[in-house]
């Protein structure tokens, strides 16, 4: 459904992505792991054209696109069929919770207001915030803000949702509420790519784990394969570092 081929991206002389291939099928929950600076964020941003890749092919459903020479129509098509959940939420601070969620429906997709509000409320119910409709982002905890971010993403019914470390900016006690919502979405069959270091999440819901390092996909497989039987030395090293008292890698 979503396919990336040979994605390259440099910032100045700094080659960040060095030919990444990823394939996502409908219903896939893909977790991307990798050390900080390995290009995970850049990869997700390139999918959504928040960064313009230097090279690469993106296929979404039947539409093939050159990621470097993309037309405005390509960009708009991809953005209307994907959604991004940001590490630091990035809610619209001048909009209420409800407006944050209806914006993409009413303004970008021309959904009639009444219908948009209904859709938004049902999305907000899924994240447990239907009683906060008229609040502003500044009045909410980080966990709630990220839940609004998730509602904003699911309301537009995207083909795939891109999560970039959705819990890493949260206080530890707020991680659980956000993670359990994403888990539930995953179990309901939402297609998603999640960059995260939450291993239990990956083990629980991912059907594919991709380990990235230095701008390339080093290894990919089921969570069991990656966590219990990693083949590559770099993967082993990484897992050892993030799981110091490891009961995964033997």
């Amino acid at each position: 459904m979503l396919k990336l081929e040979d994605v390259h991206k440099a910032f100045g002389k700094n080659q960040i992505l060095k030919g990444v291939d990823i394939e996502v099928n409908k219903g896939d929950v893909i977790v991307i792991l990798g050390p900080s600076g390995s290009g995970k964020t850049t990869l997700l941003r390139s999918i959504n054209f928040l960064e313009k890749a230097d090279k690469g092919k993106l296929t979404l459903d039947d539409r093939e696109m050159d990621m470097h020479h993309s037309s405005r129509k390509d960009i708009s098509y991809v953005r209307k069929n994907t959604a991004f959940v940001f590490q630091n939420y990035c809610l619209f601070n001048n909009k209420t919770v409800l407006q944050n969620v209806t914006e993409g429906l009413i303004v970008a997709r021309k959904v009639p207001k009444k219908e948009a509000v209904e859709t938004a409320i049902s999305a907000l119910k899924k994240v447990g915030l239907e009683d906060k409709l008229d609040m502003y982002p500044a009045q909410l905890s980080g966990g709630m803000q990220q839940r609004v971010g998730i509602a904003r993403a699911i309301a537009v019914n995207p083909k795939v949702i891109l999560f970039d470390e959705p819990t890493s900016a949260l206080d530890p006690e707020l991680v659980g509420e956000v993670l359990s919502i994403i888990k539930r979405l995953a179990k309901e069959g939402t297609t998603m790519i999640v960059v995260t270091h939450e291993m239990s999440f990956a083990e629980d819901v991912a059907n594919k784990v991709i380990f990235m390092s230095d701008g390339v996909v080093v290894e990919q497989g089921s969570p069991k394969e990656i966590f219990y039987k990693p083949k590559e030395e770099r993967t082993k090293q990484f897992l050892k570092r993030i799981l110091p008292v490891s009961d995964y890698v033997i």
Binding site: F84, C90, F92, N94, E103, Y136, A138, R152
Partner: protein, 231 residues
């Protein structure tokens, strides 16, 4: 010499109509300044090195030249340049024209900076969230970024208006009859016999205008804040 309250009020009433002139140059300069300031702010924030350079040089110059020097340069320089180019003399009959040009040049420099920092005050993530959910760049700018930038800029805008009104009073040096010019004329006509009443009346008007501007901007700020739910 004694200060007479009735004389003070007499001059207050005489000066007030000339506030129109003051408002004219301040208002027009503000409008032109917003247009050009927006342009330069776009240059400063943009990718083109040349345009960025032009905008930087502009703000650096016009924020460091004393307003009165700038006024003289405009007043003497522009007709000379115009004559050199067209071969015809344009004269200097309308002092307000030169005051508007000068104050616009000053306002543009300040507004460039005000708009640039207001834009920067809204974190880039909100813009990215807007386009990533499918809004166009223009929709994102006007629906998300602009309202927040405006709120950020309002206090500096208020200060700028007061500054423009005060700097424009320099127009008397080239014969502009605004409230300050009129006050000078009245003072000369009465051989400085009513100097205190005249200039206190003048200061009172400036003071009231400044307070009113401040109050108006505070009101606007509260209104925008309420729209943003931050009151």
């Amino acid at each position: 010499m004694r200060f007479k309250l009735s004389t003070f009020f007499e001059y207050l009433v005489k000066l007030l109509p000339y506030l129109k002139v003051t408002f004219t140059y301040a208002g027009l300069s503000l409008v032109f300044g917003i247009v050009f300031g927006f342009l330069f702010a776009v240059f400063k924030l943009g990718k083109s090195r040349i345009l960025r350079g032009i905008a930087n040089v502009y703000t650096a110059i016009f924020r460091s030249v004393p307003p009165v020097v700038l006024l003289f340069l405009v007043y003497y320089g522009i007709p000379m340049a115009a004559e050199a180019i067209t071969g015809k003399s344009m004269g200097r009959k309308e002092p307000i024209l030169f005051v508007i040009i000068t104050v616009t040049l000053l306002a543009t420099a300040s507004l460039t900076e005000i708009m640039r920092s207001a834009y920067k005050s809204v974190d880039k993530g909100q813009y990215e969230a807007g386009v990533s959910i499918g809004l166009t760049e223009i929709q994102t700018f006007f629906r998300i970024v602009f309202p927040q930038a405006l709120l950020y800029a309002l206090p500096s805008l208020g200060n700028l208006v007061i500054y423009l009104i005060k700097e424009g009073s320099l127009g008397f040096t080239i014969g502009l009859v605004d409230i300050f010019g009129k006050a000078n004329t009245l003072n000369q006509n009465t051989y400085s016999n009513h100097i205190l009443e005249i200039y206190i009346a003048l200061a009172t008007i400036y003071w009231v205008v400044a307070i009113a501007t401040e109050k108006l901007l505070k009101y606007a700020e509260q209104k925008v804040k309420r729209e943003l739910g931050r009151a």
